[in-house]
Every structure is written in C-alpha cells, then in structure tokens.
C-alpha cells in the first residue's frame, strides 16, 4: 500500500484522533513533570501536533495553512514584540537582566505595575549619546556608498553575461552563484590575508617597487568597502542579469533602426528596462549591509562605526539588553521603509512577468 493511502486509511478509521489524544496526554505530562531542559518545548510540540491532527479533520485547508503561519508568528513576530517590550524596560543586575518582568501570578495589579514601569528612557539615552546617532548615520553612509560601488562593479559584469553566447551563460551564471554557496565568513576572512600590513597586497606592491612602506589597509573603512562590495556582488549581479537576459534584442534593433546610436540605445532602452533588476539589487545589498556585523568587526577599525557591531557589543560585552533592544528597534524602524519599498518592487515585477 502506498504511503499516502496508509495515512488516508488511518484518517478514515479515525486512528488519527486516538493518536492525537495520546500525544496530547504525553505533551501535558512532559510539561507537568518538567524533568529535563526543553521539556516545555517538546511537550508544546506534541500538543501542537495533536491540535494539528484534530484541526485537519475540521478544516484541512486551514490546518495546513496554520502550520507555517504559527511557526512564523511564534519565531518571527513574537520575538519582535519582546524586543520592543525589553527596549522599554530598565537594565538590572538579575536574570534576566532587566526589569520589570511580567508576573502573571500577580494578576491585574502585576499587569498594571508592569506597564507602569515601561518607559522611553533607553531611547532618550540613545538620543543623548552621540555614539549611537553617529553610528546610525555612518552605517547609512557606508551602506549607500557601498551599494553604489557594488552597482557600478556589478552592472558591466551582468551586462557582459547577458551578451555572452547562449552556451556560455549557464557556466557564467554558475561562476557567479558559486561564491554565494561558499561561506560568507571565509570570503570576508580571505581579505584579511590580502589587506593586512604584512598581507599579500602589500608584499606584492613592495615587490613591484610601487611603494616603499606597507600601506595600512586592514582595519580601515577602505577594507570595509572592499569587503562589502566583494561579498554582496552576486546579490547585485543576479537580479540585473535576470532583467537584461529577458530583454528582447529586437528592441535594440528597433531603436537603431529608428536612428539611435548604440550608446543612445543603451541609455534609452537597455537601462530603463533593466531598472527593476537594478532596484531589486540595490535593496538586496543596502538593507542587509545597514545591519552588517561580520565585515566591520573583521575588516573595520576602531573608528568604523556600524550599528550592527554596536548592537552586538552592547549585548555581549556590556550585557545591556534594554539598550541593545532599543538599538534594534530604531534600526528596524529605519529598515521598514526600504523593506516595504523592496516588497512592492518585487510584487510589481511578479505582476509584470505574468
């Protein structure tokens, strides 16, 4: 008998409901006894599965939708709400290191005192300390400049790929994707060996006799820019290549037929039509770079201020959860606009493709 039929016959004989009941009992027992770490989680999982099996009987479609929906609600949306909540709390030397914590056992008064203790102190602190807003500004500056450089580097590559012969294109495409599958950390690390004071580039330039003393490149903003352009290049090339490849050659021929020069054809036809790819690529670089942590901490110097690095240090070195959360909330607010714009761009493109 086929797998699917086995499950269907279990469904038909209502064996599933018996199983669901057993799982639910087991889950409740696990939570009740609380013998090992994670027993709450395992118990919750069992109960969730039992609920799913039962829900599947009532409305199959909704039960199926609910699985990923609930997962994302619990692990994506709820955490943000917690971040916002903690950003409004005060730091404390305790576990967890903030107050107030919500004590549901105290009932209504607990809830009231909980909300009464929340305030915007951390945000006031962020506004008063120039470190934070210069870090936001400097992150934005680095993100904008590096997005622009990435675009300038990526466009000719994507253009060249789209103009290459049909048989070469899959290979070129693979060559662009390959670094993407390679560890991000390793790709950043590779530049440490190249840009260091005793690194490959300095040795090479000294050997050529172009310079007499090694240049300081590592731990500067220059290294950060190189690292960002290098690691994010595929994210820019791929969407631009996708739009350029779809571009109908006869459009350019028509433009030339109507009196355009090649260069005019590029500016008046190719570039406007590749705009959706360019926009998508810019968002794909800009948004994650704004919160980048690995590149500034490995390639950047002490004067490289990026908000991702600040957040990480605030959390791990200073153990100041409320301030780290406030930093995250502001970063999130800054990111909402580009993320929404990016989604609308993607949706428009998807509609145009249909």
């Amino acid at each position: 008998m086929r797998f699917s039929q086995t499950l269907e016959s279990a469904y038909a004989s209502k064996a599933d409901l018996v199983l669901a009941a057993l799982l639910a009992v087991a889950g409740i027992a696990l939570i009740w006894l609380n013998q090992a770490d994670g027993s709450h989680f395992t118990g919750g999982l069992l109960i969730a599965f039992a609920v799913f099996v039962t829900a599947y009987r009532i409305n199959r479609r909704l039960a199926v939708i609910a699985v990923p929906y609930l997962w994302l609600l619990v692990f994506f949306l709820v955490p943000f709400i917690i971040v916002v909540k903690i950003s409004l709390s005060d730091p404390a030397i305790a576990i967890p290191p903030y107050t107030p914590t919500l004590e549901l056992s105290e009932g209504w008064t607990g809830l009231k005192s909980f909300f009464g203790d929340l305030d915007f102190e951390n945000f006031e602190f962020l506004a008063s300390d120039p470190l934070y807003y210069t870090a936001y500004l400097s992150s934005a500056k680095i993100a904008i400049i590096s997005t622009a450089i990435t675009l300038l580097v990526a466009f000719p590559i994507a253009y060249g790929m789209a103009k290459a012969s049909e048989e070469w294109r899959p290979t070129l495409m693979m060559l662009v994707i390959l670094p993407f599958w390679t560890s991000f950390l390793i790709r950043v690390y590779a530049w440490m060996g190249i840009l260091g004071r005793e690194g490959f580039l300095n040795s090479f330039l000294l050997w050529l006799g172009i310079i007499d003393d090694p240049l300081t490149m590592l731990n500067t903003n220059f290294a950060v820019y190189v690292g960002i352009v290098y690691t994010y290049l595929p994210f820019m090339i791929l969407p631009i290549y996708a739009t350029l490849e779809k571009l109908d050659v006869s459009l350019l021929e028509a433009a030339e037929d109507l009196g355009c020069t090649r260069t005019q054809g590029f500016w008046l036809v190719t570039l406007p039509l590749s705009m959706p790819g360019i926009i998508a690529g810019c968002f794909l670089v800009f948004i994650p770079v704004l919160g980048e942590f690995v590149i500034p901490s490995l390639l950047g110097g002490s004067d490289t201020l990026m908000i991702g690095k600040i957040l990480y240090e605030e959390f791990f070195s200073n153990r100041d959860w409320p301030v780290a959360s406030a930093v995250a909330v502001i970063l999130l607010l800054i990111l909402v606009v580009p993320i929404v714009l990016f989604q609308r761009n993607q949706q428009k493109q998807a509609e145009a493709d249909q």
């Binding site: 967890p96 580097v153 390959l178 991000f184 390793i186 690194g199 690995v294 959360s325 990016f342 993607q346």
Partner: protein, 269 residues
C-alpha cells in the same frame, strides 16, 4: 558563435578575477610552509595536519553538520508548505501578514533576527544549545526554501493537479503523488540552500547558542578576530573544495538530464 565586444570581455574577465582571486590566494597560502601568512615558505600540508588534530574544530564541525542537517530538513518541510500555501492557498485571513513574514527574513539584518530570537528563547528555555540554533536557523531558512519552491510551483502546470483530482485522487494523495515528484528538483535545491545557510551562519548562531553547541563559524570567528591563522586557511580550503565539488556535480548532472531530455524529445517527433 557571436563575438564578444572588447568591453564585455574585459568587464567579465576583471569581474570574475575580483570574485575568484581572493579565494585562490587563500587556497594557495593554505599550503604555505612558512609561518608568515603572505610570504611563500615552500609547499607543505602541515596546517591540515594541525587542523585534523585540533579537537575543537572537529567538535565544532560535527555540531555544525548536525545543526545544518536538522535545519535543512525541518525548513524544507515548512518552506514547501509555505510555498504551497502562498501559491495555491487562495485567499485567507491574514494572508498579507503571512507573505510579509515569509519575505522579511530574507533581508532582515542578522543581528536583529539573532537578538529577537535570543530574547524569545530566554523566555522559553532554561538553557540554549543546538535545539535553539536549529529553531532559529529554520525560521529564516524556511523563507529561502519557500522562495525557491514557489518559483517552481508558479511555472508548474496546475492542470496536472486538476487531472489527478479528476481521476479520483484526494488533495493529499495529489500532493504526494503528483505535485511533490514534479517540484522535487526545487525541493532538493531548497534543502541544499537551507543546509548551506545554516552551515554559514555566524551571527544568529552566536546569539542563540549555548554551552556545548559551538558551531564552526563561531569557532572560526573567535580564532580570526585577532588575525590570520594558517589553520583557518586550511579549513577554508576544505570548505571551498567541498562546495565547489558539490556545485559542479549538481550542475553537471542537471545539464546531463537536460541534454537527455532534449535527445528524447527529438527522437519522439
């Protein structure tokens, strides 16, 4: 064959040189016998030897592989369901929120995801470890899987599903016996993508890890923070080699399948 213009040829050459030279240098210097990281001191494989005798790298590699395997499997299941719901689910309450939640993790900075999940896990678990890393990785990897599978589902002829239903198959039967075999290549790509994403991740893992759950990227990061280490070059070379071989096998086999298919079709007509 069309001749490439000088401009295109130059930009491609320079572009790919920029993409590949740093990694090639990294690979070459992993065989450097000298202590200095930029001066060639003769061919040697001693750093590989040191690497394989270092327990902490081996432990970290084992943790990472287990986490990546669990993440890839879990997020493939969840991501495929997500894609199916988004493409075939029709309208339902909160659809916009749902599709927003599946796209946002793709661009959300790692530090925010990591921090927010850490705060959640602190409330859920007494102690964090591999399980929490898997949960965190699954949350963003399933969104990537969903994107890959959605694009295949969109081009997949819906009349195949209707035909199955017309011939007496239930919705579940149709999904298992018709839809799944046809989107299998995308599901496999999704699994591989999720596996690599989990393998690569440093930031989210650092936030959600616990005692005894040090992953390879965490280990590498703490090693290289203070400078270049030859063992790490060796380790990087191994990782690059595995990925390169994997991608080459995958693309050659898919190319062979395509060629065979074209040959079959020509023969049929």
């Amino acid at each position: 064959m069309k001749k490439m213009s000088w401009f295109n040829l130059t930009s491609l050459t320079l572009g790919f040189a920029f993409l590949y030279i740093p990694m090639i240098i990294l690979v070459i210097f992993s065989f450097n016998g000298g202590r200095n990281v930029a001066i060639w001191g003769g061919f040697s494989t001693k750093w590989y030897g040191e690497l394989f005798h270092d327990e902490k790298f081996l432990d970290a590699a084992w943790v990472t592989l287990r986490v990546a395997f669990a993440t890839a499997t879990l997020s493939t299941v969840l991501g495929t369901i997500t894609a199916y719901v988004l493409v075939r689910g029709g309208k339902f309450y909160g659809r916009t929120l749902f599709s927003g939640m599946t796209y946002a993790p793709l661009v959300m900075p790692d530090v925010i995801l990591g921090l927010s999940l850490l705060l959640l896990f602190k409330a859920m678990f007494n102690q964090m470890g591999m399980l929490t890393i898997v949960l965190a990785h699954t949350t963003f990897a399933m969104c990537y899987v969903s994107v890959v599978v959605s694009s295949r589902l969109l081009t997949f002829d819906q009349s195949l599903e209707e035909a199955a239903s017309d011939l007496g198959a239930s919705a579940f039967d149709t999904f298992i016996n018709v839809t799944l075999p046809n989107i299998a290549p995308a599901v496999i790509s999704g699994w591989l993508l999720a596996f690599t994403l989990s393998l690569d991740d440093l930031v989210i893992a650092s936030f959600t890890t616990g005692p005894g759950a040090t992953t390879l990227p965490i280990e590498i990061f703490s090693e290289v923070r203070r400078g270049v280490k030859p063992q790490i070059n060796a380790l990087s070379t191994i990782m690059i080699a595995i990925v390169t071989v994997g991608v080459l096998i995958f693309s050659f086999s898919s190319k062979r399948r395509t060629l065979k298919r074209i040959a079959d079709e020509q023969q049929a007509n």
